[in-house]
């Protein structure tokens, strides 16, 4: 039975801590976004309890901002819920990809970390070498969530607490994080990562002509992996076995 403790240590405790640590850059990146959300929520007429509850229950930046602007123009609750669904639908793809890369775990565990699968948590977790430990994903999500919820509350009362130069510069945080995740993958796996990322970015520009950001990211991702797969198979006729 000693092995049980060992397994527990290795699978849950230490990956959780590692995830919490790697979640810190997300927490920093969320800070200005959550502060601003809290501030705008207040000026839109939401109570502090409503603003914080939204961050606690929804945990999706873009759709929360969108909800505020829709509330401001008097949209109905159903319209706002439908729009939220549309904006966050892209996570279907990320969830499916994590499913493929994560270590097997109980349904309860998967249901738990699924709640925290924002773009950023997905980005940090999925660039780890598979199989990704469920505890790691959970740790990353918990750190990101804590920042998101607490800075929403802070922002509600004191949105402009950051000095102006930091407010502007912190807008780069999440992009710097994405770059920091991409570069080691490029070093490790080479040009396949560069090509996929370039395709993703270019298709995003293309789809953004007609689509809102959520859908544009989703279709750009599908287009990028499809073009890569088809090119590899039919144009290069390379070795496609893993």
């Amino acid at each position: 039975m000693e092995n049980v403790t060992d397994t527990y240590e290795n699978l849950v405790i230490s990956p959780l801590k590692k995830g919490l640590l790697d979640g810190i850059p997300i927490a920093i990146g969320y800070m200005p976004v959550a502060l601003t959300f809290g501030l705008i929520a207040g000026s839109t007429g939401l109570a502090v309890s409503e603003s914080v509850l939204m961050s606690m229950i929804v945990f999706a930046g873009a759709s929360q901002y969108m909800a505020l602007s829709m509330i401001a123009v008097g949209s109905t609750a159903l319209e706002i819920i439908a729009a939220t669904f549309i904006v966050n639908f892209r996570h279907l793809l990320m969830s499916a990809s994590i499913h493929e890369r994560a270590e097997k775990s109980s349904k309860k565990m998967r249901a738990l970390y699924a709640f925290g699968l924002t773009d950023e948590v997905f980005a940090v977790a999925s660039t780890k070498t598979p199989p990704i430990k469920p505890g790691y994903i959970l740790g990353t999500a918990i750190m990101a969530y804590t920042s998101w919820v607490s800075f929403t509350a802070v922002g509600f009362f004191a949105g402009a607490i950051l000095p102006w130069f930091l407010q502007e510069s912190m807008a780069i945080a999440l992009y710097a994080l994405f770059i920091a995740l991409l570069i080691p993958s490029i070093k490790k796996e080479g040009k396949i990562v560069i090509i996929l990322a370039l395709l993703g970015g270019l298709f995003h520009v293309f789809f953004a002509i007609w689509l809102s950001t959520g859908w544009a990211i989703m279709f750009a991702t599908i287009a990028a992996v499809s073009v890569y797969e088809l090119t590899e198979r039919f144009v290069l006729k390379g070795d496609v076995t893993e």
Binding site: V58, I81, E100, F115, A173, L177
Partner: protein, 101 residues
Amino acid sequence: MSMAMFWMIIGMGVVTYIPRLMPLVLLKTENWPAWSKRMLSRVPYAVLGALIFPGIIYVHENLLFGLLGGFVAIILAYIGTPLIVVVGGAIGALSIFTIFF
């Protein structure tokens, strides 16, 4: 808190959770063809590309702002500094840039 607002938030939460949850608990990919698994495992890199570009050039009305931050991040990441240093370094560089220019 108004009841209408409460239920709207719950509704938003449910429709956000569903796409995050469904593939993780329902998909049985064990018997899927290799190409589809391969494509799914490549999703992170395509997503990262789409998340970075073109958003990074719009972080500020001055296009150079995002590009400079991105450049600093690339250098720091390339020399192998931890995530937190890359993020802090990009913020720091842009803070200096904003104060002086």
